[in-house]
Amino acid sequence: MRVRFKLNGEPVEVDVEPNELLINVLRERFGLTGTKYACGIGECGACTVLLDGEPVLSCLTLAADVDGHEVVTVEGLAKSGELTPVQRAFIEEGAVQCGYCIPGFVIMAESLLRENPEPTEAEIRDYIRGNLCRCTGYVNIVKAVKRASKYFKLAPPGS
């Protein structure tokens, strides 16, 4: 079946089978391998993308269901090669180790700061509790979100 949607700002069309998952369509048809498989059952958040601006798990989303909607992956955040404040903060705080979970965290941090530009530490931790990281103990990730929140305050997105 034919599915049309907006992917990282561009309209796209693709033929999918009814049982195809969004994660596989993103990775295999569009080469957007930043969206990661890690558990397949919604326990780890590595496959998180924004669907109509809300974070969802692409491993549990039928590609057919995004027809007419808008999907943003980690590749769609940094426009024209410039890192977003969140991405910058992740690097600066040493929040990245093996990096496999990081796209999911970056998406979540973007989503959180758009909803709540000045989150408390507890709010940050709660917001990312669906994202599993086995390397960092989340310490530098939480620091990175706090740092990004300062950047957001200085220059809100879209300003």
Binding site: P18, I41, E54, V56, L60, L62, D65, G130
Partner: protein, 305 residues
């Protein structure tokens, strides 16, 4: 030496993909959706948020021939305050429930339950109807709805009917819905003044299914409990009401002794099992603790208003 163990189903699981083929329908209206269900008579599955059904298909537990995706049926996505109570569309996302001021102010146990579920992503996908239809004994939205004495509405081509939430759960994974029915809304009566409620959950981590979850609602006048309702999850094949404990509480002043006794009675009404998440013994013990804590919090809220 030979053993008669059943083979593990590992070779039929594949969480990379949905290994089963099905036909896909995305009806634009509820009428269309129930028509489809009526046509496919039990060979179809309704897809709402997908957080449960897709997993079930990946691990080979469910193999539908048809999937009816109602994900974008806007008509079932609402939170309405009406004269007879609060009406929540079945496709209302848990995330929206958690963010609703009406729910947070008037039905705080439901807010607390929604917030305790999964991660933000799961709550941005999962719906209140999906959580109920999944009929997990551990469903977090069940205990609050049970203490609020909610009813759900089911629609099919045969018409619509209301089911009290207490009659909705039939066993693990089994609800009162017929295969051609769609759960369309949840109706919660307004709680009378001087009512307080609370939801509590014990799990292995902050991102987990409940070992035990408990909701309590309590109505107090002049220091006396007029009525109390207690519901528990993950301690029986379905979420349950602790009716004996509720009866015991009615008409009593809520001292620590009474709370402790009520908790004992509530725990005696549970039928927990031992599984990979916890033990039957622990579930029963912690049921007591959660019932006590939930009663104290609910009482405090009832008294402070």
């Amino acid at each position: 030496m030979a053993s008669r163990v059943r083979p593990s189903p590992i070779n039929t699981m594949n969480t990379h993909i949905i290994p089963v083929r099905f036909e896909y329908f995305a009806p634009k209206t509820l009428n269309e959706a129930v028509d489809l269900l009526s046509r496919f008579r039990g060979r179809a599955k309704v897809l709402a948020g997908g957080t449960d059904l897709v997993v079930q298909m990946k691990v080979g537990r469910v193999r539908p021939e048809y999937v009816v995706s109602i994900r974008w049926l806007r008509e079932l996505d609402f939170i309405d305050t009406r004269e007879d109570g609060l009406h929540i569309g079945a496709l209302t996302k848990l995330r929206r429930i958690e963010k609703s001021d009406v729910i947070r102010r008037g039905f705080i146990a439901l807010y607390e339950a929604a917030k305790a579920m999964g991660g933000v992503q799961v709550r941005c996908m999962g719906t209140v109807g999906g959580n109920l239809c999944n009929a997990s004994p551990a469903a977090d939205t069940a205990p609050p709805l049970m203490v609020y004495e909610a009813r759900v509405k089911a629609v099919s081509t045969r018409g619509e009917r209301e089911i009290p939430i207490t009659k909705f759960f039939k066993g693990p994974g089994k609800s009162a819905l017929e295969p051609d029915e769609i759960l369309t809304e949840v109706m919660i009566p307004y709680q009378p003044a001087n009512t307080g409620s609370a939801f509590l959950k014990v799990a292995r981590t902050s991102m987990d299914l409940a070992k035990v979850n408990v909701a309590a609602a309590i109505n107090v006048r002049e220091g006396v409990v007029r009525w109390a309702r207690i519901a528990l999850g993950a301690v029986a094949p379905t979420p349950i009401r602790a009716l004996k404990a509720e009866a015991y509480l009615a008409g009593k002043e809520l001292g620590e002794d009474v709370i402790a006794r009520a908790a004992e009675i509530a725990a005696s009404e549970t039928r927990p099992i031992t599984d990979v998440r916890s033990t039957a013994w622990y579930r029963r013990e912690v049921s007591k603790v959660l019932v006590k804590d939930a009663l104290r919090i609910a009482y405090g809220r009832a008294v402070r208003g």
